[in-house]
């Protein structure tokens, strides 16, 4: 229904002024309610109608921009002198002073103040009010044992958008006020194009912005401060090169090793060596080489070692290395932790490359991510890999002397405490940091702290044993403070730890001796029966035959199973057919009944 009203006006009347006149209202349209339309609606009773009579408010969030502060100091120089007196001129100042001293007010005031002051001076001289009566009895206070705890002090986040793993941390050698962290993505081919290559040096006081950026050619996997010169850092890159920086010279590396002579895989660990010049370091990578460098001449490594156990220097059969260990008290020996789960102990001063590899210790199921000698007992070292951490003694090559239980998550890094000989720290892929005190408890960590939700990849303790930093998968480095109970040397601790290590070493030695005896017996027994078992002996030596045999037995078992299943099926089929016949009879009866019912209805 269209409501239309037409206005007409003669053309000649256009442009005329409007003459308005009043008239009563005219009804043009009246639309009455149509009750039939109500059929389209359903009445609803009751009807919920919300009404609010309240002041309308809106919520806004505001975050101010970060406030940048600067510390400034002012140096005061002598001032306050009246305008006509020049403070530099001795004569003028003396004259001024003498004038003041002649003032009567001055004399009276000072006499008064003088007597007041004398009273206090005499008081001081009479009795020492701050005397300590029960002085150096702090040893008793040590008895109050607080439960071990770790407190997060600061968190340093990767400032880039695309987060990379914090793969390695290094404390500044003087006092540990700065932390150098290297960032890279260790997942193969996961790094996106926009991923930044930078690594940072952070000042512990300022977690908002890194103090310095290091810009390598390829992301750094490991980074170390030079313990002799705190301005120099060396880093190993993802592409196998080594680079070194001088923090005084800026963000670009001072020099990089040449690509042809570097590693062919990411450099997983680089350590500074103890040398007179303080410029030597060595590095290792999963390509199976250990290279020694002098940073003054980075074009070529000074020495090379291939981790080939057959001592032929064959790169193809070498073991990939993940961690490296060097103790300054034993400069000719060093140890390498491999991807295959073995620790290779090497002697640097051997004459031939073949003699460089001294012995191996195997026991881990996976790559050894951390390897460190105990700072107090260099004969014992800690290895961290797969799901356990193990402690070894150099003399026992068969197995570790102590180990932790198998955890639910991989262990990624570990290190000893520099203060307490029996305490070490480990990090796991579920983001927890464990503190183990082997003198206190060996089954479980003494303290387990969940640092973050993502996996932790690296860990470093500061030299005072109090602070430690751990780096996570998303590039977040957390600085924790350990409670004093875990970071101060207890009484007798060294003696107890020595006793513990010796005891465990002896136990392993005895076990090793027993094993050797048993093996000798076995061998002699097998030698007697060797003529009879000649054939078996041959097939045992041939791995391919063994595989074929295994396949045959496997298929036989499968065949047997299959036959059994078929027989069972046939049995079931037979039963089913019997039941089926019965069912069919039943259903026929039911149909007849239904038909009867319908007929009766109609």
């Amino acid at each position: 229904m269209e409501i239309v009203y037409v206005y007409t006006k003669k053309r000649s009347e256009f442009g005329r002024q409007c003459n308005f006149s009043d008239r009563p209202a005219e009804l043009h349209v009246d639309i009455l309610p149509d009750p039939t339309l109500a059929g389209n609606f359903i009445e609803r009773n009751p009807c919920d109608m919300p009404i609010q009579c309240v002041q309308e408010m809106s919520e806004h969030e505001v975050n101010t921009e970060r406030f940048a502060t600067e510390t400034r100091g002012i140096n005061h120089v002598e001032g306050g002198w009246p305008k006509d007196v020049n403070p530099q001129e001795m004569e003028q100042t003396m004259r001024y002073r003498k004038k003041v001293e002649k003032d009567e007010n001055y004399v009276n005031t000072l006499l008064q103040l003088g007597s007041l002051m004398e009273h206090c001076i005499k008081q001081n001289n009479a009795i020492d009010i701050y005397e300590e009566y029960f002085g150096e009895e702090e040893d008793v206070i040590e008895g109050t044992e607080e439960p071990p705890s770790a407190k997060t002090i600061n968190v340093f986040r990767d400032p880039n958008e695309i987060k990379r793993t914090a793969t390695s941390l290094s404390w500044h050698p003087d006092g540990g006020r700065k932390l150098a962290i290297s960032y890279s993505s260790l997942e193969f081919q996961h790094g996106s194009k926009e991923m930044s290559f930078d690594s940072y040096i952070w000042d512990l006081e300022n977690p908002n912005k890194p103090e310095m950026t290091l810009k390598p050619v390829s992301p750094l996997v490991c980074l170390e401060y030079n313990p002799k010169d705190s301005h120099i850092l060396v880093g190993g890159c993802y592409n196998g090169q080594i680079a070194y920086w001088d923090t005084r010279k800026g963000s670009q590396p001072v020099e990089m090793s040449t690509v042809e002579h570097s590693h062919r895989d990411p450099v997983y660990k680089v350590i500074w060596l103890q040398s007179k010049t303080g410029t030597e370091c060595f590095s290792t990578s999963t390509d199976g080489q250990v290279l020694w460098w002098d940073i003054r001449k980075m074009s070529e490594p000074t020495e090379k070692l291939v981790l080939d156990l057959s001592k032929k220097g064959n790169l193809d059969s070498s073991l990939g290395a993940i961690s490296l260990e060097f103790e300054t008290t034993m400069p000719t020996k060093f140890m390498v932790g491999t991807e295959q789960g073995m620790v290779v102990s090497c002697n640097r001063k051997a004459k031939t490359p073949g003699e460089k590899i001294v012995c191996t210790y195997s026991g881990h199921h996976g790559p050894i991510y951390a390897l460190q000698r105990n700072p107090f007992f260099p004969k014992n070292f800690l290895t961290v890999g797969d799901w356990t951490a193990r402690i070894w003694s150099e003399d026992i090559k068969e197995s570790s002397i102590m180990w932790t239980k198998y955890h639910m998550a991989y262990l990624t890094d570990g290190c000893w405490s520099p203060i307490r000989p029996s305490v070490f720290f480990t990090t796991k892929t579920d983001g927890t940091l464990d503190v183990w005190d082997f003198l206190f408890k060996q089954n479980d960590p003494t303290l387990s702290v969940k640092v973050c939700d993502e996996a932790l990849y690296s860990l470093r303790v500061q030299d005072n044993g109090r602070f430690l930093a751990c780096g996570s998968h998303l590039g977040t480095a957390t600085l924790l403070e350990i409670s004093s109970g875990l970071s101060t040397l207890q009484r007798n601790e060294k003696a107890l730890a020595t006793a513990m290590f010796e005891r465990e070493t002896k136990r392993e030695k005895i076990l090793e001796a027993r094993h050797r005896e048993m093996r000798l017996k076995e061998r002699s027994r097998s030698e007697q029966g060797k003529e009879e078992d000649a054939k078996d002996g041959d097939t045992e030596e041939n791995p391919e035959d063994l595989v074929a045999q295994a396949e045959k037995t496997f298929f036989e078992i499968i065949e047997a199973e299959r036959r059994k299943n078929e027989e069972e099926e046939q049995k079931i089929q037979a039963e089913m057919s019997k039941v089926g016949k019965e069912e069919k009879e039943d259903s026929e009866e039911k149909e007849i009944d239904e038909m009867e019912v319908r007929i009766s209805f109609c």
């Binding site: 005061h76 120089v77 001032g79 103040l113 004398e118 001076i121 001289n125």
Partner: protein, 95 residues
């Protein structure tokens, strides 16, 4: 003359390291220490005394500062304030 004797007597007490008299502008009038130390003490303690006095008077306007003693690890600094002058003595307390 009494003034001289008083000041000399103060200086000669056991443990007294130095005496300084400062006026209202912070200018050291009389001192037994060397110039740079005097200037430092005068400037800093002058400001501290003003602050201490204003603190005492803020809490209770009827009150006023009569004496200020600062004990540190090494020695004790005693300040006797007045409207116009300040007498500062540095003493090593008996230990």
């Amino acid at each position: 003359m009494f003034l001289e004797e008083t000041l000399k007597r103060i200086q000669s007490h056991k443990g007294v390291l130095g005496t300084i008299v400062v006026n209202a502008e912070g200018i050291p009038i009389r001192t037994t220490l060397d110039n740079s130390t005097t200037v430092q003490y005068a400037g800093l303690l002058h400001q501290l005394t003003i602050k201490a006095r204003s603190t005492v008077r803020d809490i209770d306007p009827q009150n006023d500062l009569t004496f200020l003693r600062i004990r540190s690890k090494k020695h004790e600094i005693m300040v006797a304030p007045d409207k116009e002058y300040l007498l500062i003595v540095i003493q090593n307390p008996s230990e």
